[in-house]
């Protein structure tokens, strides 16, 4: 059952022997230098032997490279018992000739030096062990114990030099462990002889939480990560964070997923967030962060996708109950196996170990959506400088797996604006939603806005965020004057607006009516005037007619009189009559 490892960027260069240790092959870009010795040094109890043993066991079981484990401090049965907790059955592997254990016991009291000697006995022993099982890998677990057993250090040093060269000549990929010295990497300066690759392990206690760390101090002929990486000795062996650390080359999906809140999706360009992106939801206590996260989970499960939740404040049962109260029923998803909720106390482990646990669970469950509620609890005791790289690795890892992540974070007052409190981690996030309490007019209301959302058009508007037993809804806030109004103030303002509008409408109607009646009055007036004019015209006609009649009558009278008098009608008379 050989496993091929496919690191994304194996450099063309020296051949490498994969260790099979989670994370270590990524840091070293493929593994330890094949056919060369590697020095693993660190203080007592920091995991040197475990690392060496896992290197050997995985080599034998996964990469078809049997190995010899030569120990100088522990005896074989102790070691077998110790690594059984990691699931390594050394006795079985020994029977199958995949591994050979050799305990080199040196009792200083028994040994007396009498002249010149060399360590040919050790060479023969090791050579025989290698030949017996056809070993490709060798571990020398704290060979420095020889310095305590053999008084002549000059001989020992030259023999060690010869040993390492010999291992190299035989093409053995070797791991040599060494205890950390006060002024040097190892107590007896082994780093002088093993110069190809040096790993430094370290165990530190900070804020009462101990963390083991690993660093690749040197790796000839290869690129490697240079940071200190926390690692954990878990149930399945070592786990070095991060899984992907050196590159920033994850795929960027154009696929969008909905958040489950219609109006929020509208704010995010109508399509929600990108798959594989990271979303940060910040806000102070009680702004609805968890509820928003629950809706997000609900939406994912509705699509038939798996969701993983890390709850650091509530137990799974409490979370389910509380979300039921706002109409989000997560229980069925848990029953269907689509949703896993992991609750733990943040103080139980260090941040790094939490993240290692997250890695393990993510790998096991393969979710498409992951929620951490809240991330701020994890970072409570840690310094910002530590938190950021850790989160960066987690987010990198999630992006590599195309897992959409949502982190809630409690904004702790301090900075002048809530934005300030998240400076450290916010730059890592693709989308940042800010939830805020607006306290005004004797009540508190929730608002939400999209502070940033990479790669999409998004609304710049503040929306009111309403939690009810029907779920989550976003409504437009009242934007009037110089204030944003929410809650009852918004409702009151809206009612006031409505009343004012009504009034205006009525006023308008009244004015129109007034105008109409005025117009009607004018019309009436015009009609009256017309009538008057008509009657006056008639009067004038009558007067003219009368005048004409009179004139005609008088003319005919004159003519009649003239006729009677026999006279002629003179010009005077006509002229006169015309006048």
């Amino acid at each position: 059952m050989e496993k091929t490892i496919q690191p994304t960027d194996v450099q063309p260069g020296i051949p490498k022997a994969p260790t099979g240790i989670e994370g270590l092959d990524e840091i070293t870009c493929g593994g330890l230098p094949a056919g060369r010795p590697t020095l693993v040094c660190g203080e007592a109890g920091c995991g040197k032997t475990m690392l060496a043993m896992e290197f050997l066991v995985r080599g034998a079981t996964e990469f078809g490279e049997p190995g010899v484990f030569m120990m100088f401090e522990e005896n074989a049965s102790d070691l077998t018992a110790n690594v059984r907790s990691l699931g390594f059955d050394l006795a079985k592997l020994e029977r199958k000739k995949q591994i050979r254990l050799d305990f080199v016991h040196i009792e200083r009291r028994e040994i007396q030096e009498t002249g010149e000697y060399d360590l040919e006995g050790l060479f023969i022993r090791l050579g025989h062990a290698i030949d017996t099982i056809g070993a490709k890998r060798v571990v020398l677990d704290t060979i420095e114990a020889l310095f305590a057993g053999l008084p002549n250090h000059a001989i020992l040093r030259s023999e060690l030099r010869r040993l390492f060269r010999w291992l190299k000549d035989r093409g053995m990929t070797a791991v040599i462990t060494g205890e950390r010295g006060e002024h040097s990497l190892t107590r007896f300066g082994l780093e002088e002889y093993v110069a190809d690759c040096v790993l430094v392990l370290d165990q530190r206690v900070q804020e009462q939480i101990s963390t083991r760390r690993l660093r690749v101090l040197k790796y000839r002929g290869s690129v490697h990560g240079t940071n200190e990486y926390p690692f954990l000795i878990g149930a399945r062996g070592l786990s070095v964070m991060p899984i992907t650390s050196l590159q920033l080359n994850h795929k960027a999906s154009a696929d969008r997923i909905l958040t489950g809140i219609v109006r929020l999706d509208e704010m995010l360009g109508g399509k929600g967030v990108y798959r594989g992106s990271s979303v940060l939801v910040t806000g102070s206590s009680g702004t609805g962060k968890s509820s928003l996260a629950a809706k997000f989970i609900d939406a994912a499960c509705r699509r038939g996708e798996r969701a993983l939740v890390f709850a650091y404040e509530e137990s799974p049962a409490q979370l389910l109950r509380n979300m039921r109260s706002i109409g989000i029923h997560l229980g069925p998803w848990v029953a269907k196996g689509l949703l896993q909720i992991h609750s733990s106390r943040p103080t139980m482990q260090g941040l790094e170990e939490h993240l290692v646990v997250m890695h393990d669970l993510v790998r096991a469950f393969q979710p498409s959506v992951m929620v951490v509620d809240p991330i701020s609890n994890l970072t409570l005791d840690s310094r910002e400088t530590e938190v950021k790289p850790m989160l960066m690795r987690l987010i990198d890892f999630l992006k590599q797996q195309q897992i959409t992540s949502l982190f809630t974070s409690l904004a702790i007052g301090g900075g002048p604006t809530p934005e300030d409190s998240q400076l450290g981690v916010s730059s890592l996030m693709d989308t940042w939603l800010l939830l805020r309490n607006v306290e005004f007019n004797g009540e508190r209301n929730r608002t939400i806005y999209v502070l940033k959302s990479r790669g999409m058009a998004h609304s710049n508007q503040v929306r009111e965020f309403i939690l009810s037993d029907k779920g989550i809804d976003l409504v437009d806030v009242y934007l009037g004057g110089d204030r944003v109004l929410t809650g009852t103030a918004r409702a009151a303002q809206e009612a006031q607006e409505r009343a004012a509008t009504e009034l205006r409408v009525r006023d308008h109607r009244r004015k129109v009516e007034q105008l109409t009646s005025k117009r009607r009055a004018i019309d009436a007036q015009i009609a009256a005037l017309h009538a008057q004019a008509e009657s006056e015209t008639a009067e004038v006609d009558f007067a003219i007619a009368q005048e004409t009649l009179q004139a005609e009558t008088s003319q005919s009278n004159i003519m009649a009189m003239a006729r009677m008098r026999g006279g002629r009608i003179g010009d005077n008379g006509r002229t006169k009559g015309k006048q």
């Binding site: 009498t114 010149e116 022993r125």
Partner: protein, 112 residues
Amino acid sequence: MKKRARAGHSIQTFEKATAATAHYVLRLYVTGSTPNSNRAIANVRKICEEHLLGKYDLEVVDLSLHPTLAQGEQILAAPTLIKKLPLPLRRFIGDMSQTECILLGLDLRKVD
């Protein structure tokens, strides 16, 4: 055979006597015929002949021919001489050129 009967120190005297009369089982492990190996074989033989004549049992083992013995006998350095009997077990490493040192280790010399 040197017997030293001295008054007092009865326990020490007894131990010395035991050591002096005990049978010695010695194993010399060498690796091939290197100069060190050859010198060691010669030196050990000489010491045995001179000090343990007739009451020793010396076996010279070439580890390059019997590599499995290296692990079983916890051999590291070569040459290695192991005094298996009388107890306690002692190991001498080197070309066995420091005779006095070996004699001390074999309890054949009194510590002054």
